[in-house]
Amino acid sequence: MLADSARGFLDEKAPVGHLRALRDAGKTHDPALWKDMAEMGWAGILVPEEAGGADMGMAAACILAEEMGKTLVTSPFLSSAVIAATALKHVSDDRAKAALSAIASGELTYALAVDEGRKFAPEKIETEARRDGNGFRLSGTKTFVVDGGFADRLLVLAKTEGGLTLFDIPADRAGITKTARSMVDSRDAAEIVLADVEATGEDVLGQVDDAMAVLKPALEAGQAALAAEMTGLAAGAFGMTTTYLKERKQFGQLIGSFQVLQHRAAHLWCEMEVTASAIAHAGRKLDEDPANAALAVSLAKARAAETAKLAVIEGVQMHGGIGMTDAFDMGFFMKRARAATEWLGDYGYHAAQVARLRGF
């Protein structure tokens, strides 16, 4: 039911053409669309009711993300409504509650500033938060800050004396320089340089030296929702492909009657079904037993990466030359699959997590 209502809304407001129009206009964010989504209750899908949210849980958030993936919807849903909201929910002060309210209403957007190198590795960062009186001074460079070009606030992971600490600071604080990156998937990402940026104890999310108590659940929520978006993406590309197989004629026959293509399409569908099980499981596990969801989440994200890749490669190949043209939408799916795979840990990262958790 949630999926159906989401589909109706998204087909009207955010078909793939919406992403294309943004790209052609040189934009990476559509505040009007996000406002509409907030009015649907999506920005507050994880926000508790007393803070003005819908509090529907991760299984529901994954369903929304999957529907968004089908038409490559561009919005701060993952960064703000899933990742930041989950982090803030793990902090029980009034400031966090106010931030959750502002996320739910769509007024406030967030970006997660963790990565520093080419690959996702939150435990290997150099950005430092040096003690300075009662507060801190942050210095370092964050790369691939998704939605960092427009977000109002940043969640910055930095090293402190006894470990890692997560800071929640406004994106326009003195000493912060943002450089927008022209991304292959036409979505928003920035490089963010922090030069002696001032932070107070108030700006710490959770406890000093204990970032993971807040960040780990936030990352897992983001990874599961992103995996769900990727299965939606695979389904979107696959839908275009099967439609084409039933319409396109070559050598006097519908190409969908060729057994070699039938079997490849059927194999892809099987992979998608299996991945869908892993996604549904991750959403359920995050709602029912969040402390032990790491395996389910990494399984989902790893499988999603492999399945999305197969779906877009087959999508382009089965469409032939037209699949390579920019005028046709398949390329958008391929580019998003690559970027979504890389964000929050790729196949190798998550397969290694699964292996570790399964006693390899």
Partner: protein, 389 residues
Amino acid sequence: MLDDLDQFRSETRAWLEENCPPEMRDGGRTEDSICWGGRNWVFTSDAQKTWLDRCAAKGLTVPTWPVEYGGAGYSREQEKVFLEELAAIDGRVPLRSFGIWMLGPALLKFGTHDQKLEFLPPIARGEIRWCQGYSEPGAGSDLASVQTKCEDKGDHYLVNGQKIWTSYADQADAIFALVRTDKDAPKHLGITFLLIDMETPGVTTRPIRLISGKSPFCETFFDDVVVPKEGRVVGTVNRGWDVAKYLLTHERTMISGGGGGITGGGRSLGAVLAEEGDALDDPVLRTSAMKTELDTLAIGLTIERYKDMAKAGQGTGDASAMLKYMGTELNKNRLELMMSVGGSDALEWDGPTGSRPADWLRTKANSIEGGTSEVMLGIISRRVLGLPG
């Protein structure tokens, strides 16, 4: 509702603790620990018989079947709890059989009340062992072209022909077979689903030796076999294909791992390989093992998801082709990996790795029996994806 299930769980746990003999708490992972039942069954121990009798008395050999047909009348959730608790004490599945996996579900759907009363309780109690007579030498993947002839002789049927790949036919008490009752009808419409006692004069079997060595497969011959008409046809004469198709979805689910747990029985491949020396130090092997583990977990979740959908009344018939295809290809990969880990040790019959070489070769049949992988992909492309025929 959840409280009820918690209560059920503690009752189940207590019952298992009291009733499952210590000898039956070894997981039952080897071929010869399986109890198949049947008239000629020789129990491997008193404990095996005790365990079967105790489970059968409570309907636990077929937990979800109705009580009047020998089951426990459990819901899918209750069955899950029972299986989880059984696994928790490493308890053996008390009885496995084609009657439970295949004929039972077909009778529950297509059988008359009398047929259910006659055939289901003996299956549940492990008193009758069934085998399946589908394939013929000339009808492998093209199953509907069965030629075994069944003539209506007024007061009885007369059956003549040959079946192949009849697993355990040499040990079975009875066979459910597809026979041709109308040779002039279109091939799917002249088939009947018939139950035949293996002790009937004219029925003979011969084992088939495979590349993996000794196998449960047989050839089964019918020479002027007389079958009573009363109560021996499941469904309608000439409409046996409907029954066969339904039953095939159960067979495919079973081969994919739903019935026998070939997806690793929940055991981590990492844990398995850790017992094999420094196998995981090889980066190529490690990568391959990681992928296999991911697939194992995700396919296991998919089997559960499809069982839940089936219980919720959502059709999964054609989708069982997916489980069969993915499960059997996974199993082949898994055994290739185990052979690679075993190195030259695994090249020796009954050597240091036990039955591994035979198991490895045997998996090659998984993607052939019950419909080949290619047939499965064909079913999916036509019936699920709607691609042109």
